[in-house]
């Protein structure tokens, strides 16, 4: 009887673990049939190009979410750091690498401010990053003076480089995601992130430096947010006032769609978040090709976020249930 039950549960578990692969494949097939220009090398390459900024930002978010926390300031950090970079570069006549370095440094510092507020002043992470999200958008807009600024040609040229059909930005993003995955699963820092996601109290008791690690992950998230900001700007060839808007929620959605639990403790950048990002970008790309109204996009995004959250909640319930079944089985064994 128990075997029978666990058999059922394994089936459910498979659906929960691989559900979004199934969705991805289904969406892919539907679009291939529905939009003739979808399944072309150039469109697929475009999709891969479009995933780059979101993938970089979502990689950092994955690490934050694995600790059971959330950083919704990433979109605004992307804007503020890119704006700071372009602003200083044009005022001081600096080179393109200097602009990149400035943007990354600003992103890192903003992440450090997040970390400081959360770890030292002990303000709730969601509230902290919400405040930063609002405030930094203002800072970014102020630096830009409300208008869009051209990005140096060298940067634009770089992102037009291709290896085969794949754009250089995609390669950068994949490398970053790969490194994030290795950091998450194979380094002490990464395992400590997962430990904190299970329970900060237990992690601290076992000698994990919870506060330092939490601080570090927000710094990292800020750094990767600014990297995502640079990639976005390079793609569009401009830093515009709406850069990064909504990216934080799209990022969280991608992370959760990829199977990383908002409850913390487990998740992956590759394959998880990568799949999530591809799914989201793919859906929008297809909608675009099929000529859907742009006003439909936010609705579809919202729907995806709900579905992903619901699946996450079901997964959590599933694990609660399997645990109960284990204890029942041992109780029966004792009799």
């Amino acid at each position: 009887m128990i075997d029978n039950k666990s058999g059922q549960f394994n089936l459910r578990r498979i659906i929960f673990s691989y559900g979004f692969y199934i969705v991805l494949v289904a969406v892919f097939i539907i679009y291939s049939l529905g939009a003739t220009s979808f399944l072309t090398i150039s469109n697929l390459a475009n999709i891969l190009r479009d995933i780059a900024p979101l993938l970089v930002i979502a990689s950092g978010l994955t690490l934050v979410i694995v600790t059971g926390s959330l950083d919704i300031s990433v979109g605004s950090i992307a804007l503020a750091s890119a704006a700071a970079g372009i602003f200083l570069t044009s005022r001081l006549q600096l080179s393109t690498p200097a602009m990149i370095l400035i943007a990354l440094a600003v992103g890192t510092c903003l992440g450090a401010i997040n970390g400081f507020l959360i770890v030292v002043l002990r303000i709730n992470a969601l509230v902290t990053t919400l405040g930063m999200m609002i405030a930094l958008r203002g800072v970014g807009l102020d630096l830009l003076g409300g208008s869009q600024w051209m990005v140096p040609d060298a940067l634009v040229d770089f992102t037009r480089l291709k290896v085969g059909p794949i754009y250089s930005g995609t390669i950068v993003a994949l490398v970053i995601a790969g490194v994030a995955q290795v950091v998450l699963t194979r380094t002490v820092f990464g395992r400590h992130l997962a430990a904190i996601g299970n329970s900060p109290v237990i992690a601290a008791r076992l000698g994990v430096r919870v506060r330092l690690t939490t601080f570090a992950v927000f710094v990292l998230s800020g750094f990767l947010a600014s990297a995502g900001g640079i990639l976005t700007a390079a793609h569009l060839a401009v830093v515009h006032p709406y850069l990064g808007q909504g990216l934080e929620f799209l990022g969280v959605a991608a992370v959760v769609v990829g199977g990383t639990s908002l409850f913390g403790g487990e998740g992956s950048v590759i394959p998880g978040t990568l799949i999530g990002v591809i799914t989201l970008i793919l859906i929008e790309n297809g909608l675009n090709l099929m000529g859907a109204s742009p006003f439909v996009y936010p609705f579809v995004r919202g729907l995806i976020i709900f579905t992903a959250m619901y699946a996450d909640s079901l997964r959590a319930q599933l694990h609660g249930q399997t645990r109960r079944i284990v204890t029942e089985a041992t109780a029966v064994g004792a009799e």
């Binding site: 430990a195 008791r205 645990r323 284990v326």
Partner: protein, 499 residues
């Protein structure tokens, strides 16, 4: 005798409002197990938290092999070879066994964790404990006994010389418990000093060489187990104030108030029939997994029933009710107060009034009258002797016994005619148990009807007027008060001796 491996000398610690430890002395020897017993709130946990580096003592010092040591946090304790196997295990369910074991001591190669070495060492340590779990298994997929072994493996791998066990058997099956004891014996042979905290005195006599008794933050006695008796230990633990409670019936058993006929829940309960009378305590006894808790949940409408009827005396006559309405007449005291019974971060008052809010509504507004809520709360705190510094105290900060009194108090405030009590004294010490027993007996004397579920046979026998024995979802036997322990046990284990 040799020098003690560990000495704790004159340890004192106070928390705001409580002097938890008032100068405790304790010696532990290598290769021996020291039992640490005491009522809830006696200071065992605080003492062990001092040793484990979780809290810092105000006064006193700790010596290891005659040298004074400073314990700086849990990591500092680990460096000194002190490991703490917590009652609520300090494991991370989404991580693998090997990650749980090495979380703060991974060896790295070029910045990356060397999982091959870690897995080998982990498997080795588990093998020493007679456990063949794959180190890559996630902890959430392990059984309770295996989880505990993982935690012990962690202690072995940091070369712990002192291992503290805090109520290690509370979630284990009998087989797992036996295995644990074998592990502890082998740890002793390796020269580890064991400190073993428990409520179960039998375990002390099974596994420990010496025992130390704490009461009110002081060591009040102890010595070699061979020279002590169970009764002697209990006397030390509770002082001379409370003796083991045996109920004297004062009120007469009256008319039936609850009648259950042919109750059935697919696959779990089968053909349950019984009647509960006014002023009666009906004991329901069965082994784990017999369907005790499930029956309590069905009666109160928490789980659905497949067929059968539940009749309750409402207005002078027995009337069939639907289980969903049952909670209007039945008060359920649940088995696990932390999970199902209490709102832990909320105050004593709020927890007490929870079942009774409707009656506390102001006469004018549809809002809770907080003045009355408070005064009723205070009244029950006084009646039940709930030890709390103030009414606003979050319940999670109370000791287990006082938490349980809050659960009871909640239903007393509501004042139903019928109580269903599922393991009302689980995890409590002797003193707190006796107090809860007294409250239950008083309820029966006030003509309440009580269905008492307990896995402790002495408790059942001391309190109940009649016993039902449940086995695999069926009532297999009924006994009047005074039936023998052996008869009950035989019925519960499926041997039919009575019909």
């Amino acid at each position: 005798m040799d020098q003690p491996y560990l000495r704790m000398i004159d340890i004192a610690k106070s928390f705001p409002g409580v002097q938890a430890l008032k100068g405790v002395n304790l010696d532990a020897f290598a290769g021996q197990a020291l039992g640490l017993v005491g009522a809830n709130g006696a200071g065992k946990s605080t003492l062990m938290n001092v040793l484990g580096g979780v809290v810092r003592a105000d006064v006193g010092h700790i010596e290891i092999l005659g040298k004074t040591v400073e314990i700086n946090g849990p990591l500092g304790a680990a460096l000194l070879g002190i490991a703490f196997i917590h009652q609520e295990l300090a494991l991370m369910p989404t991580l693998s066994v090997v990650e749980n074991v090495f979380i703060s001591s991974f060896t790295t190669k070029g910045g990356l964790i060397d999982f091959r070495v870690a897995e080998e060492r982990c498997a080795e340590a588990l093998a020493r404990l007679g456990c063949d779990v794959n180190p890559r298994t996630k902890v959430r997929d392990l059984a309770a006994g295996e989880r505990q072994l993982v935690e012990i493996a962690r202690a072995l791998l940091v070369n712990a010389r002192i291992i503290i066990f805090d109520e290690p058997t509370s979630s284990l099956t009998q087989k797992e418990q036996k295995h644990l004891f074998a592990v502890i014996e082998s740890l002793k042979k390796e020269g580890v000093a064991i400190i073993y905290i428990t409520h179960f005195l039998d375990e002390i006599f099974d596994i420990c060489e010496r025992v130390e008794v704490l009461r009110d933050g002081q060591t009040v006695g102890g010595g070699f187990c061979e020279e002590l008796t169970r009764d002697g230990l209990i006397r030390l633990m509770i002082g001379d104030t409370i003796s083991h409670y045996f109920r004297e019936r004062k009120a007469q058993i009256g008319e039936p108030v609850l009648e259950v006929e042919g109750l059935r829940r697919e696959g779990i309960l089968e053909d349950i029939n019984f009647t509960l009378h006014k002023g009666e305590i009906l004991g329901l006894w069965g082994l784990m997994g017999s369907g005790r808790t499930e029956l309590a949940r069905c009666l109160t409408g928490l789980d659905p029933i497949s067929s059968g009827s539940i009749k309750v005396r409402t207005n002078g006559a027995l009337e069939e009710i639907s289980p969903q309405d049952a909670r209007r007449w039945l008060g359920l005291i649940t088995e696990s107060r932390r999970d199902d019974g209490l709102l832990l971060p909320m105050s004593v008052t709020e927890n007490l009034s929870l079942a009774n809010l409707r009656a506390l509504l102001s006469r004018i507004w549809p809002f809770v009258d907080s003045g009355r809520e408070r005064s009723l709360g205070q009244q029950f705190v006084d009646v039940l002797h709930i030890k709390t510094p103030r009414l606003e105290q979050p319940v999670e900060l109370l000791s287990g016994g006082n938490q349980q009194k809050v659960v009871l108090g909640r239903w007393l405030q509501r004042n139903p005619a019928i109580y269903i009590m599922d393991e009302p004294t689980r995890g409590l010490d002797v003193g707190a148990k006796a107090e809860i027993h007294k409250i239950i007996a008083d309820l029966a004397d006030e003509s309440k009807a009580i269905l008492l579920i307990s896995s402790e046979i002495e408790e059942m026998m001391g309190l109940s007027d009649r016993y039902l024995v449940l086995n695999r979802g069926r009532i297999v036997a009924q006994y009047p008060a005074g039936a023998g322990k052996e008869e009950l046990m035989a019925a519960a284990a499926g041997v039919r001796t009575h019909d």
